[in-house]
Amino acid sequence: MPTEVKVMDAHEMRRALTRIAHEILERNKGAENLVLVGILRRGAPLAHRLSRLIEQIEGTAVPVGELDITLYRDDYRTHAVSDIGATHIPVDITDKKVVLVDEVIYTGRTVRAAITALMDLGRPACVQLAVLIDRGHRELPIRPDYVGKNLPTARQEFVEVRLEELHGEDSVCIRKPDEER
């Protein structure tokens, strides 16, 4: 019997994303020049949701891109990933305000890779970072600008974000290490 603790349900997720959408608009004084870039896989649906929320609030559509960071990871030599997605960003990001979107920030290494990947595609005016969950334990000097929920965790624990678009439900759970399959 796995002890999974649910720390966020669909309602809480919706509220957190709505707040982040407002914060993005507040910080950037509107939606002008913004591009949302979701890190594959789970950041991508979140970026699309934020874009819809911003459109509801502001009436302006914000372009959404998807970024695969596999080729920029720093652990290729030990863990080559098989499931590689394709990067697709519909606009030139040069001089745009890019908001990177991911579901969880942990060591910061994914975000480091994502920033390097973005820089190969253009020269954004600035890069900001939105995450649904900040679980701590950073290994690099990277900090998110927008956080859905701060979640203190142990390194051995596993944070699983399930999304309607990918898994059929919206939830965030913490799994204990001894319950890992």
Binding site: L71, Y72, Y76, T78, A80, A86, T87, T116, L121
Partner: protein, 306 residues
């Protein structure tokens, strides 16, 4: 887990699918203004070619460079091979320079397999004699999949000099594993003696052979074959087995035409086909770079698990 890429006959269908999917994702990188990702930084890839090549060698080298690997190319014609060094000694010496991957082409069938057994690094077969040319077949399959959305259930007619074609053999194994039906279409003198033991339908008449096909793949007619009396004349060959617009009337209406290059225009393929909307020949070349990126990515990654 892939360790070398020598034949498609011995490659698992799930590995073929993995390479095709990866290459499809990598294609986007080729459209960028800056074609460079850092993945293979610090890795050394050597191309060792004992036979002429433009496409394959440049394609492998570009793929490696886009992935940030360093590349060195060795042409046997201008190397110590001329001083009588054996293939295995050459390969071992290159490895002693701490290279990380060897891409090789050799006129002897089985040469890549021999080298792969002797070296502790990934070896990629870029063509061995009349045996296999796995990356060519993978790029062909990727091109077909992009146009048809699938491989399963398709009919692919390979036309021309089957006997001497490693491209035909690799495509036969790869396509069959992915659920496509393969036909060999050629004059009887250009069909391998053991063809009836292969999982393929054989035709000696072009129209019958390409009737209802989803894909027609024309092979290069190696002109030196003529001298051995396998063919009456180029003219007769192109009349009976050359792929032209008229012949293609019997295929499926959306049939695509492929050629692994280099083409003999007017011999195995007519201009009215090579330059038509049905021709996907240049797409094959672009896909070749993406396929070779995918091959290098999967062969050189994950040392701990290999």
């Amino acid at each position: 887990m892939l360790t070398d890429l020598i034949t498609l006959r011995e490659t698992e269908p799930e590995d073929i699918r993995l390479l095709l999917d990866t290459a499809q994702s990598f294609k986007e990188i080729l459209e960028r203004p800056v074609k460079k990702v850092p993945t293979l930084r610090g890795r050394q890839v050597v191309t060792l070619f004992y036979e002429a090549s433009t496409r394959t060698r440049v394609s492998f080298e570009n793929a490696a460079k886009i992935m940030s690997a360093d590349t060195t190319s060795v042409a046997a014609a201008s190397s110590s091979v001329q001083k009588g060094e054996s293939l295995l000694d050459t390969a071992r010496n290159l490895r002693a320079m701490r290279i990380d991957c060897l891409v090789m082409r050799h006129p002897q069938s089985g040469a890549a397999h021999l080298v792969a057994q002797a070296l502790d690094i990934p070896v990629v077969n870029a063509g061995d004699g009349m045996h296999e040319h796995p990356t060519q077949a993978l790029l062909d399959m990727l091109t077909i999949r992009q146009h048809k959305g699938r491989l399963e259930g398709l009919t692919v007619a390979i036309v021309g000099d089957i006997t001497h074609s490693r491209v035909a053999r690799s495509n036969l194994w790869g396509l069959t594993k992915m659920g496509a039906k393969v036909r060999f279409v050629a004059p009887a003198t250009l069909l391998p003696r053991d063809v009836h033991r292969l999982p393929v339908e054989v035709y000696t008449d072009l129209r019958e052979g390409i009737e209802g096909a989803d894909v027609v793949m024309a092979l290069r007619l190696q002109q030196e074959r003529m001298e051995r009396g396998l063919l009456p004349s180029l003219r007769e060959y192109s009349q009976r087995w050359g792929v032209n617009a008229k012949a293609l009337e019997v295929t499926k209406p959306d049939c695509i035409v492929m050629h692994p290059g280099p083409m003999n225009r007017g011999v195995e393929i007519a201009d009215d086909v090579a330059d038509s909307g049905r021709s996907v020949i240049l797409e094959q070349v672009t896909n070749g770079v993406a396929i070779r990126m995918a091959v290098l990515y999967h062969l050189l990654g994950g040392e701990a698990s290999a």
